[in-house]
């Protein structure tokens, strides 16, 4: 189904390009060049394009996990963006405050600080859901606004502002920074360009580790079993002795920690300071699409992040090479989401008798969560058989 959604989006997107007088093939050639460094016509450096894609996909992986995990518990975490901002703010504050500490001490501090901040941010929604039943969609969205305005306060007139007349913070200390894979050196030439243009940093490995931890947690631990049980049916889980309230709160805390980690990685690995660009950051919202497209599975999240990272990086190359507005990328993302949410490819399959499958699962309380049950993405042991 996810692959079908992507194909559907690209076909419809291509038709849109053609209908508005563009050439869909050159548009997609530009996208592929910008995303994967393949088939470039204007002398783009392939290594640079791949590096840009990896920089974009790194935070998507961690935030994708932060959406996918609550999905498994039947919770819809729209607040990954706010949790990411909370993580980036905590990381920056710690990275400035203790800027003289050496890397072995400060780097874990800023990353853990970001995770704790993200966890607290999501934990509010978890506690409200578990105690008074406040819907997590509403509370997490509200917490996004709180984070955004807190960020504006902090760097415009607030304690983290660099100087009046600016909208950014001081840079974090050198010890708080994640190393780039290549030295950040303007004079060292790698693949024909200064090494400093390749911004891929070790946060990539942290994100991969995060997604591995997610898979382990979900399929190999008691907590993971509880989360899936609550997602399948709260009543059945309760009957089986699972504390639904505790599971909801813990799930949100862990999810928030993943998002907060993404924010901290972004500050420690790429930006090194909080700036106004976080006002327009959409990583936490793209993560919802990533989690849906990846069917909430670890491998799926990585692949979907790769696709969205490549789309993000490819859009501007497509615009300058093929003259197609990079808004096409947003259209493609929307079409992918649309076709997943509407699940109409599945509906088409149901209409064709030869392809009809037995109904997969009974209707559940949260329809969105039904997309990510075992039926949609079987556990690893089931695949390997």
């Amino acid at each position: 189904m996810p692959l079908g959604s992507v194909v559907f989006a690209f076909v419809v997107g291509g038709l849109l390009v053609a209908a508005t007088g563009g050439n869909p093939f050159s548009a997609y050639a530009g996208l592929i060049c910008g995303g994967f460094g393949v088939g470039c016509t204007q002398g783009e450096n392939p290594a640079l394009q791949i590096s840009n894609t990896i920089v974009f996909l790194t935070p998507l992986i961690a935030t994708g996990v932060a959406v996918a995990l609550p999905f498994r518990a039947g919770l819809f975490n729209i607040g990954a963006e706010g949790q990411l901002l909370a993580g980036s703010m905590a990381c920056t504050a710690i990275g400035i405050k203790f800027s003289t500490l050496p890397t072995p001490i400060l780097l874990p501090m800023v990353l853990i600080g970001g995770m704790v901040a993200g966890a607290l941010w999501a934990g509010v929604a978890g506690v409200l859901k578990a105690t008074v039943g406040a819907h997590e969609v509403v509370t997490t969205i509200m917490m996004n606004y709180v984070a955004q305005w807190l960020l504006r306060y902090l760097i415009i007139g607030g304690p983290l502002q660099l100087a009046s007349g600016t909208s950014k913070s001081l840079p974090i200390g050198p010890g708080a920074r994640l190393a780039t894979l290549l030295p950040s050196d303007n004079s060292l030439i790698v693949f024909g360009l200064p090494a400093s243009v390749y911004r891929v940093h070790t946060g990539l490995f942290i994100a991969i580790a995060a997604v591995a931890i997610f898979a382990f947690l979900l399929w190999r631990t008691t907590l993971g079993y509880d989360i899936r049980a609550v997602g399948q049916s709260q009543r059945a889980a309760r009957y089986a002795g699972v504390s639904v309230r505790r599971t909801i709160i813990v799930t949100m805390l862990i999810a928030g920690a993943f998002s907060g980690l993404a924010g901290a990685i972004q500050i420690a690995g790429v930006d090194h300071n909080l700036t106004d660009k976080y006002f327009s950051d959409t990583t936490g919202f793209d993560a919802i699409a990533v989690a849906l497209l990846g069917l909430g599975s670890a491998v799926g999240i990585v692949l979907a992040s790769l696709l969205f990272g490549a789309l993000h990086a490819g859009g501007s190359v497509m615009q300058s090479d093929a003259g197609i507005s990079s808004n096409l990328v947003l259209v493609l993302q929307a079409l992918i989401l649309f076709s997943i949410a509407a699940n109409f490819l599945g509906a088409i399959r149901q209409l064709i008798p030869g392809l009809r499958r037995p109904p997969t699962a009974p209707p559940r309380e949260t329809p969105s969560a039904a997309l990510m049950t075992e039926a949609a993405a079987p556990p690893p042991e089931a695949i390997s058989k």
């Binding site: 692959l3 002398g43 392939p46 791949i50 007349g165 909208s167 243009v197 501007s316 300058s320 090479d321």
Partner: protein
């Protein structure tokens, strides 16, 4: 779908990436046609403001100098560095960053590509702390926004003083995006000139802390109108379009910024103009003529880089006369609007 097929796909993808990475770039040197790359900020080309004007300047240069002009629109702030780097790494002769918010990105990338020319509207190439790195390959295109702000300040101050506007409480206002120099310059000139025309006038100044979301500026403007403001001057890019709408809905007047914004809302009576098109065109011309000076260029009323337009409104003769007089005095240097907002 088979897991094996998925694995195979992954392997092929990785192999392609490795092959591509080792391949290196294979640019063939074309006949000398100058290549100009324009990177917009998150406002995008259709912001009816300075990104749009930069594009107008680029189009004019394409016609006049037969240059190749390409655009990359930044969707988020994360795009600034990759967009600038992509142009620079494909040997564009000039890479133009539109906007103050791109300063740090221009500073970083211009250091990586010392042989590529860069120009930046409203700023310089800076380090993370905002210090100008003074790279010789960067041309800073600054504006005396206070000149343009003063023009619309004269109009607003005199209109309010004549007492024919709706609230008539001696109050006008400005909605800024973020309190950064190019925004505050406009407001400084506006307040200074309005106070010059009517020493008793009250000028409310508010910030939305945003440049893209019209709803935020609309809220700030509505607050000011409730406080008696009769003229709302927007200095907040795409966000400010909301301020113009708020003025229109409340039946008071508004003033556009950067470009002539008469089409943005019927309430717009004038616009403070910042000729980003002139600046962009000048930078391209410098590169084409082989006379790229680097350093700072300033555009103001005197060299035609700043000004005003009167929109959806016919200016009374006495106001028109005063505006023309003040414009002449600023151009001659006998009047100098301040760059900091007066108390």
């Amino acid at each position: 779908m088979g897991q094996t097929r998925l694995r195979l796909f992954g392997l092929v993808a990785v192999a392609l990436m490795v092959a591509a990475a080792c391949g290196g770039s294979t640019a063939t040197p074309p006949a000398k046609q100058y290549k100009i790359g324009l990177v917009t900020d998150i406002g995008g080309l259709n912001d009816k403001s300075f990104n749009h004007l930069a594009y107008v300047g680029l189009q004019k240069a394409i016609t006049d100098f037969n240059v190749k002009g390409d655009v990359k629109e930044s969707k988020t702030g994360d795009d600034y560095v990759p967009n600038l780097t992509n142009f620079a790494s494909t040997n564009y002769d000039l890479v133009i960053g539109v906007g103050f918010l791109m300063q740090e990105a221009v500073g970083t990338v211009s250091g990586q590509f010392p042989n590529i020319h860069f120009a930046i509207i409203d700023g310089a190439g800076t380090d993370a702390k905002g210090n100008d790195l003074k790279h010789a390959n960067v041309e800073s295109l600054y504006f005396r926004e206070q000149d343009a702000g003063a023009m619309v300040g004269v109009i607003s101050g005199m209109l309010e003083k004549q007492g024919k506007l709706k609230n008539n409480k001696g109050v006008i206002s400005a909605v800024g995006g973020i309190s950064i120099p190019p925004v505050d310059h406009y407001i400084a000139g506006y307040k200074w000139a309005a106070t010059m025309e009517d020493p008793g006038i009250k000028v409310l100044v508010g910030y939305s802390n945003d440049f893209t979301d019209p709803a935020k500026c609309k809220g700030v403007a509505q607050g000011q109108i409730n406080g008696g403001s009769d003229v709302v001057f927007q200095v907040a890019g795409g966000c400010g379009l909301g301020a113009l709408q708020a003025a229109g809905q409340a039946g008071v007047k508004s003033i556009g910024v950067d470009a002539d914004q008469k089409d943005a809302d019927p309430s717009v009576i004038a616009s403070a103009l910042k000729k980003v098109d002139v600046a962009t065109y000048t930078a391209i011309k410098d590169v084409v003529n082989g006379q790229f000076p680097g350093g700072a260029l300033t555009f103001d009323i005197q060299n035609g880089g700043a000004g005003y337009s009167v929109d959806n409104f016919s200016l009374p003769a006495d106001i028109q006369a005063e505006v023309t007089k003040v414009q002449g005095e600023i151009a001659a240097g006998t009047l100098t609007p301040p760059d900091k907002i007066p108390a």
